[in-house]
């Protein structure tokens, strides 16, 4: 078939001429528009294939035997009876994979299955593969494990006591085996600045643990095929890190491993490191030669955890009478659970990410992450910085109260600005925080509500910032952080090969929008092939809000390269410069005369004839001068930061302590919204998740006085309550675009930043409503009820309404 035979049909589906005029005027035709997601069709029809939807020929089902003890030595494991059970094809124990791993290479302290010690109730000790789940479960019951029970450590305070049992071997002689990481950093003379401050606000805060609960439980399929190649399909958000750790732990050639990430049913940081099931399906399959699937039960999801660290935080905030922040001094204790996970980074993030959007004269933080015999904590949406942000924004509210200043105003007065450096030397580029404050102040009708509503109703404000990806990869290397490959076919079809992990946030759509914008094809001409290490270039994964910024930039690079080639070839055919050719809406057209045009497929044919097969790669690496040179200075560094402000409005029932959040206004500076629908979705989902932690969610583990020590109190979605459609407040998204100089089309992150302020905004709103400071989370009815009765809330509330508003010390 010759190109022109395709022309009529393609011309009929292409955009009309006035769209081209719009494009010729320099307007984006895809970017910034409310387009559909490229994978939406599959999701609304049930056609999308998630890992558990896959069945391979001969596939077996695996199950993992888990420790009933929070802390014990494994004396022996006898699997002979399980192996003898008809239908069982393989059994593995820790002895089959005696290699430690961790997503952070510096803190490898975890075995795929425990070798000689279990460290929490739920730690894996053995795994079986059988013809079906029932047989696998029966086989687990036939495994005899003899334990020598050890004293469990259930609180970080206990972990730090000199006589506490050591959960891990100390990394170095003289070190404490119960500490993952201790970070002390000071910028400027904090003690002197506190001495000089007109007002010092002190507070102690507690952030309870919470977990991700994606609706899809973790699932993995492993197949060690007869040719000696291992393929692992997994509901992961970090296929590349999984790829590397599989090779290391199983002692396989990494080039003989393929990791595929099918559609993922939510992650939120809960799938951002390797898990026991991925190693187990691989090891079991290697043993029996058949594909093996393991699907976590919901209980196992709770035990695998890696969610928000419980933190105890003490802050001192020194301010001057004009509201400027003179000194911030923080001391934080992180309850890390049994293993390191991302904990080394968490310890740093808990201090490093607090230094914007406000400018600090001096700053010091001291963070300690301790091990306990509970499921390991890790990164949950807003990794490490949600907890200190809660504490700090409440501190700032208290400072404003002491100074009789509007909390909006104190935030404006301390604005750090754009194109600047934070006190810990992080480079800030674009910064739309003031516009965020303006937007929520206006939309919430703040001036008419703050300190003006009846007892029981209130509003609160809070701000935050977050990273658009980390400046350095998890394992040190000089290679690009993100890469993409694009290939053009003669039909006009554009294939994008990306390692970016689509976890629902829309990364597949994001790269498709960019490719369609640059190459002028209709959106449905773009096919996105993602996260298959046999096909797609390395990407580090969906964590630290890096995909849009980094993969987006890589995609712009590859697509712009192809665009130039196509335009040059068409220009040559028309005898005009390539720069005079535009690509948009399914056409290649003359920018000076849009009537002169050819369907995009024809343009690709012309280009292919001239340049040969059309494919290009793009990559992105971070600028290296965006952080300080001190030890730890790179952690928290990012090529760009997003900024957020929230106003929450609450109604508190003073009889029951029940807090109803009526509305949250969310203003978020995402740089540029590549698709406003998706950005709003991230803002709403973030605010929802923050609201959920503020009011409802809590990981509770029993102590010896209340049952079995270390046992999760309620590992189910009925008892670990997450908000339903009836609980969730009205969420109002207000997009702010600061157009970042280095982001793709100016874009920055939107997936994690908008979570942070919801919690302190609600806390501050509760104070406005009833005169009670909620410094410990969650703000559940019993906690609020107790706080209401602990002091004279009504009197504090009356004082907060008095003209000077200086006399709030008691309520602090």
């Amino acid at each position: 078939m010759r190109p022109e035979e395709l022309r009529d049909r393609q011309a009929a589906t292409a955009a009309s001429a006035d769209t081209l005029d719009d494009a010729a005027a320099g307007n984006a035709s895809v970017i910034g528009r409310r387009n559909r997601k490229v994978d939406g069709y599959g999701k609304v029809t049930g056609a999308t294939v998630y890992t558990d939807d896959m069945t391979l020929p001969g596939m077996l089902h695996g199950k993992i035997l888990r420790s009933p003890h929070p802390h014990a030595r494994i004396v022996s494991i006898d699997t002979t009876k399980a192996e003898a059970l008809p239908g069982v094809h393989a059994v593995v124990t820790g002895r089959d994979m005696p290699v430690t791993y961790c997503v952070i290479p510096w803190t490898r302290d975890e075995y795929p299955l425990c070798v000689d010690r279990v460290r929490y109730i739920g730690d894996g000790v053995a795994a079986v593969a059988a013809v079906d789940e029932e047989t696998a479960n029966r086989a687990l019951r036939l495994i005899d494990v003899e334990y020598e029970v050890l004293e469990p450590v259930l609180t970080p305070e206990r972990a730090l006591e000199p006589d506490a049992p050591q959960i891990h071997e100390p990394g170095k002689p003289g070190h404490n085996g119960n500490i993952t990481k201790m970070v002390k950093l000071e910028f400027g003379d904090v003690d002197a600045a506190l001495e000089d401050s007109d007002v010092v606000v002190e507070g102690e805060y507690f952030f309870q643990g919470s977990t991700h609960t994606p609706i899809e439980p973790h699932c993995a399929i492993g197949w060690y095929d007869p040719a000696g190649k291992l393929t692992v399909w997994s509901a992961t958000q970090v296929p590349h890190y999984l790829h590397r750790e599989l090779a290391r732990v199983l002692d396989l050639d990494v080039a003989r491993i393929r990791v595929v990430q099918p559609a993922v049913g939510g992650a939120f940081g809960g799938k951002s490191e390797p898990f026991d099931l991925e190693f187990c399906v691989a090891a079991l399959s290697r043993k029996c030669g058949r594909p093996v699937k393991i699907l976590y039960t919901r209980e196992e999801v709770f035990y695998s955890h890696r969610g928000r660290h419980p933190m105890k935080m003490r802050y001192r905030l020194g301010g001057s009478t004009d509201g400027r922040i003179r000194a911030v001094d923080g001391r934080l204790l992180l309850d890390g659970g049994a293993y390191a996970s991302f904990g080394l980074v968490t310890a740093y993030y808990s201090g490093q990410l607090l230094t914007a959007p406000y400018t600090f004269d001096t700053y010091r933080f001291h963070s300690t992450r301790a091990y306990t015999n509970k499921p390991a904590c890790g990164p949950k949406r807003g990794h490490g910085s949600v907890q200190p942000r809660f504490a700090f924004e409440v501190q700032l509210d208290k400072l404003a109260e002491r100074l009789g200043m509007d909390p909006m105003e104190i935030r404006r007065r301390n604005f750090i600005g754009e194109r600047t450096r934070t006190i810990n030397e992080l480079r800030v580029t674009s910064n739309g925080f003031l516009q965020c404050l303006d937007a929520v102040e206006r939309a919430s009708d703040w001036k008419r509500k703050f300190r003006r509503m009846d007892y029981g109703r209130g509003v609160g404000v809070a701000g935050s910032c977050y990273i658009s990806g980390t400046n350095y990869p998890i394992y040190p290397n000089e290679m690009p952080q993100a890469a993409i490959q694009i290939q053009l076919e003669r039909s006009g079809r554009v294939a994008v090969f990306t390692g970016a992990s689509e976890i629902g946030q829309g990364s597949n759509s994001m790269v498709a929008y960019i490719a369609a914008e640059e190459l002028g094809v209709p959106l449905d001409y773009v096919r996105v092939h993602a996260t298959d290490t046999d096909m797609t270039p390395v990407d580090l994964g969906a964590y630290s809000s890096r995909e849009t910024f980094m993969v987006g930039n890589a995609c712009v690079m590859a697509a712009a390269d192809l665009r130039k080639r196509v335009c040059a070839a068409v220009g040559a055919a028309w005898d005009v410069p390539g720069g005079q050719v535009g690509l948009a809406g399914g056409w290649a057209f003359d920018l000076q005369d849009t009537a002169r045009r050819v369907p995009i497929s024809e343009a690709f044919n012309i280009a292919e004839a001239q340049h040969g097969t059309l494919a290009a790669v793009g990559h992105y690496n971070t600028p290296k001068d965006v952080h300080g040179e001190y030890r730890g200075g790179t952690i928290g560094a990012s090529p760009a930061y997003s900024f957020t402000a929230h106003v929450a409005e609450v109604t508190v029932d003073t009889e029951t302590g029940f807090v109803n959040v009526d509305s949250i206004w969310i203003a978020h500076d995402c740089g540029r919204a590549l698709n406003p629908v998706l950005v709003e979705g991230q803002m709403e989902g973030s605010a929802y998740m923050g609201y959920a932690e503020a009011l409802m969610e809590e990981q509770i583990f029993k102590d010896a006085d209340h049952g079995r020590a270390g046992l999760h109190n309620a590992p189910s979605l009925l008892d670990y309550r997450i908000p339903t459609s009836l609980d969730t407040p009205a969420l109002h998204s207000l997009i702010v675009e600061s157009i970042d100089p280095e982001g793709p089309y100016g874009a920055k992150e939107a997936g994690e930043g908008p979570l942070h302020p919801s919690i302190p905004a609600i806390a501050n709103a509760i104070y406005d409503a009833i005169g009670v400071r909620m410094d410990a989370m969650p703000f559940s009815p019993p906690n609020v009820w107790r706080a209401l009765r602990a002091g004279d809330a009504r009197a504090a509330w009356e004082r907060s309404r008095s003209p000077g508003r200086h006399a709030d010390v008691a309520a602090d």
């Binding site: 559909r36 997601k37 994978d39 939406g40 069709y41 599959g42 999701k43 609304v44 029809t45 049930g46 056609a47 999308t48 294939v49 998630y50 558990d52 939807d53 029932e134 991700h212 609960t213 994606p214 609706i215 899809e216 439980p217 559609a263 993922v264 049913g265 939510g266 992650a267 939120f268 699907l295 039960t297 919901r298 976890i503 629902g504 946030q505 829309g506 629908v677 998706l678 709003e680 979705g681 709403e684 989902g685 973030s686 605010a687 929802y688 998740m689 189910s716 979605l717 009925l718 997450i722 339903t724 459609s725 009836l726 969730t728 009205a730 969420l731 998204s733």
Partner: protein
């Protein structure tokens, strides 16, 4: 009932017959289907493992999250805690069976695509079925009615906002389609009464399927 010699309603018998298989017959999305299943299978297991309909999801396997919601004779049920035998001889509708036809989405599905109601998409099949059931009984549901109807479906991505937008939008589309069809039927006054009735009974593509029919 499943054809065998025991009563599966007796828990002791269920334990005794765990390893037994049975043939179940049911109608799924209009197709008459039969499958040999272990007698203890839930409806969700039957759909996913025996019939290959993997659209309905398992999020908790104990009736807490709603991702497995399907319609049983038009009413939403949690298929992960519905024994397969309860569906014997009955009409089951799943997410795979609500589109109007090949390439033609139900207005609800269209609306989800427009508003961005599906992020990771894992809760979406269950949410769609609850919403579909609501739209069978309620014309142009309000936001509060939608929140109520979806309160058994947990979503962890969206904060529900865009889901609710989508269901309200779908209600309005269906309502407009109904009005349009009614107007058209009215204008064709000369046509036979039978033709009018047929038009009136087909309010919108796909909406005639499912509940109560």
């Amino acid at each position: 009932m499943i054809r065998h010699g025991f009563s599966l309603r007796d828990p002791l018998t269920i334990t005794a017959t765990l390893r037994m298989h049975a043939i179940i017959e049911l109608t799924v999305n209009g197709d008459r289907r039969s499958a040999g299943i272990p007698a203890h299978y839930t409806l969700l297991e039957t759909l996913r493992y025996a019939l290959g309909l993997t659209g309905s999801k398992q999020g908790c396997d104990k009736g807490d999250c709603g991702a497995c919601t399907v319609l049983l004779d038009g009413a939403p049920v949690l298929s992960c805690i519905t024994p397969a035998w309860e569906a014997e001889g009955r009409d089951v509708r799943t997410v795979e069976g609500i589109a109007a036809g090949p390439g033609a989405l139900h207005p609800l599905q269209e609306a989800f695509e427009i508003t961005g109601g599906a992020q990771c998409g894992f809760c979406t099949p269950g949410v769609l079925m609850s919403a579909y059931a609501l739209l069978q009984t309620t014309t142009s549901p309000s936001e509060d009615e939608v929140r109520e109807a979806l309160s058994g479906n947990l979503c962890r991505c969206t904060g529900y906002t865009k889901i609710i937008d989508a269901v309200v939008m779908a209600g309005e589309i269906l309502d407009r389609d109904r009005d349009r069809d009614r107007d058209r039927a009215g204008q064709e006054s000369g046509a036979a009464a039978g033709a009018q009735r047929a038009a009136g009974e087909q309010p919108a593509a796909g909406a005639q399927q499912g509940a109560g029919e």
